[in-house]
Amino acid sequence: MNITLTVNGETVTADVLPRTHLVDFLREHLELTGSHLGCEHGVCGACTIRLDGAIVRGCLVLAVQADGGVVETIEGLSDSGEIADLQAAFIARNALQCGFCTPGMLMAAQDLLLHNATPTREEIREHISGNYCRCTGYQAIVDAVETTAKQRARAQ
């Protein structure tokens, strides 16, 4: 099937099989390998991407469902600088070890901060509870998100 969508600001037209998942399309057709596959059944959150402004699991959406849509991935958010402060906080706090969950974790964290500028630690923990991290034990991630929220609040 032919689909046309916007990916990180660029218009993409492609011929995809109906069964192709959106994240496989991004990784294999567009070589945007920053979105990772951890479970392929919608649990781990490593493939979290933004579709039409809302975060979705790239492994639970078919590429054809994104036809006409606007997709943003970690590559797009990095290049635009939208989450540069959040990324810097992750680095400063060592809020990633192997880094495999990190793109999805950053997408989820940014989604929280867009909807709740001053989340509590409990709210941060709750919001990222759909994103599995095996390395950090989460505390450093919570710290980094909290730090970013405070920095953004001060900058307002």
Binding site: R27, C39, G42, Q97, R134, C135
Partner: protein
Amino acid sequence: MSLSPTDLPNSYIGRTVPRPNLARLTEGRGLYVSDLTLPRMVHVAFLRSPYAHAEIRSIDTSAAENMPGVVRIVTGEQMQAFCTPWVGVLAHLKGLKSAPQHPMAVGRVRWQGEPVVAVLATSRALAEDAAEHILVDYSELPAVVDVLAALDPSKPVIHDGLGDNLAFERRLDAGHVDAAFAEADHVIEQSFTFGRHTGVTLEARSIVADWNKAEARLTVHLGTQAPHMMQNIIAMHLGLEEPQVRILCHDVGGSFGIKVHVYADDMAVAALARMAGRPVKYVADRLESFVADIHARDHVVHGRIAVKNSGEITAFEIDDLTGIGPYSMYPRTSAVEANQIVNLVGGQYACPNYRARARVVFQNKAMMSQYRGVGHPIATSVTEGLVDLAAARIGMDPLEIRRRNLVADDAYPCASASGLRFEAMSHHASLNKLLGMMDYAGLRTEQAALRAKGIYRGIGFASFIEITNPGPAFYGVGGARISAQDGAAVRLDATGAVIVQSSITEQGQGSEAVIAQVTATAMGVPLDRVRVILGDTDNTPYGGGTWASRGAGIGGEAAWQAGRALRSNILTLAGTILQARPETLDIRAGVVVDAEDGRERLPLSELARIAYFRPDTLPCDFQSELMATRHFVPREYPFAFTNGIQASYLEVDTDTGFTRLLRHWVVEDCGTVINPQLVDEQIRGGVVQGLGAALFEHCQYDAQGQMINANMADYLVPMAGEMPDIDVAHVVSPTLESVIGAKGAGEAGTAGAAACVVNAVNDALSPFWVVISEIPMTPALILRALGRG
């Protein structure tokens, strides 16, 4: 205060500095093996056994051969000509037996998930489509699932040639155990059950193997912790010479011991690349990972403790039974965890009387082997569980009984009843530091007040010891070709920048940062002038890799030694250029200076320019050497033991059985702390893996040997919402085996977390007179214990 040799001007040792590899990982610019695409690459899907135990009567691949995209289909039988089988035994684990294991099943399958047929196709999806059209005629056999059943003579023997299902047995009897039990005021017995769990690395195991016929070389892109070990093993079983195999590690999406082993499917992919003559990629899907990765910790331990009314612990006795699946894992074996448990129980206490037996049995389940903490969580849970039971029996505070029995801080060097040699530990200093962090008295007051309101909170402790920095005693003495030493090659390039090639590997713990910090400090150069290269058998010194908490302590010391050697070479050159005696010079912040007053004499960029481009300006008999290589292995002690203590504060809802973790504290002593932030995060991550074992994680099998929760939705792992904040502090007892004095820190968190949570739950439930000694402590298990299930 005297300064150690690492207390140099601008030292990076002991400083939190950011890891150089993080920026690209946060931007999605990492390169994991699963991201890799090579020209002409094909994908493999494995058809795996649906049965735990069955004969393969026939395999019909004819319908699949004609499916779209199929390149080749290979059975276990056909692969035999390309890859020899292996046997996972080591000579020093006396009596350990196992059977030859093939990359894919030949004739008989012995666990659900064993690879049976490989399908190569132009995409993974097409390979999976074709695999569905392969007909395998199985004749199901009775499965041996339960560990106790494995030793029942009426049950099937999994490998006919081995006679029975007992893979390994070890006994130990130290001191005067019978007399100690006879003379004790109290003897307490308890059985402890540990649920099998697994690593669940977020990136599943991934491999791309590329046979280049023209070069007669196999390049294997593999997320492994031990590249040189894999080079040796792949070469050996594929009939190649070691130089014909190159192992390349890129970014690795979590490992925790899961990726230190030799997996049948990985070996099959290496063989398939050779058979197909083109790159072959395999990425385990999550459903496969649960039945194809190693599991760990499937143990039932019966324990006894002898105690005096004074609180003196006079004897420990344990009997451990563990099931490891149908084969002992290769090449590190599946007997090490049980062996560690025998070694470690009671090791933190000054108790000379100790008896142990461990039995390791085969069963028709996924294979079990070393995973983060190897044996430590079991040994700590049994030891600390028994100590709490003893304290409760004699009416003593759990901290007080520990104070009275932990090995004294001034007792070192000394040895445990099991013969472990301890260089320096700090149990009492750690306990005191923990008390300073947690306000124990205040928590007890709060606990009592809340209990009156029907809220049940508990406080639990676990002291532990941890094996780190292993030398050849782990594997080399048993005949495994796994390097005990590591190396570093450090060179100054023509701009004065430094490149370090190290034989340790990075899986997220910060190896790259630690090597850079140590090298920068040893040489006296700014950290951002150091670039680290890891994980490539063509381009790093030969070494062991990163496992068993050895990267910083062994690989870090090699980098220190190499950095100091290169510094010495640089000062010799600088002395020649400056016509000064080298010993009057130093390198600080990348500049050669007068050691006396710090006056700048020569930037390294200028020194390097002269060395590389204008050697004609140097004396004819002088040759500069701007590269140095050093190796290191600890010599005096087979292992560097670390120690620590953890505490947990939690609340149990006695109506629902849910446990809410409120706070967790850790004090540990890993010797010199190279990067405080990285060490603390290793501890926190390790604790959370231990908390997963305590409360959630369990590979559940039915009576037929089917894993019934082999997916991420049903196999529960800790998520952010359930985890507490974890306070971490350190006591520092450096090892004197090395200059930097670092011991390992990767497994301390996992070693004690489950033990102190179980003790805290039992403390919370003490008004109900129940003792829980089984993990994971699910709500259902807690309600059953309370008689409400």
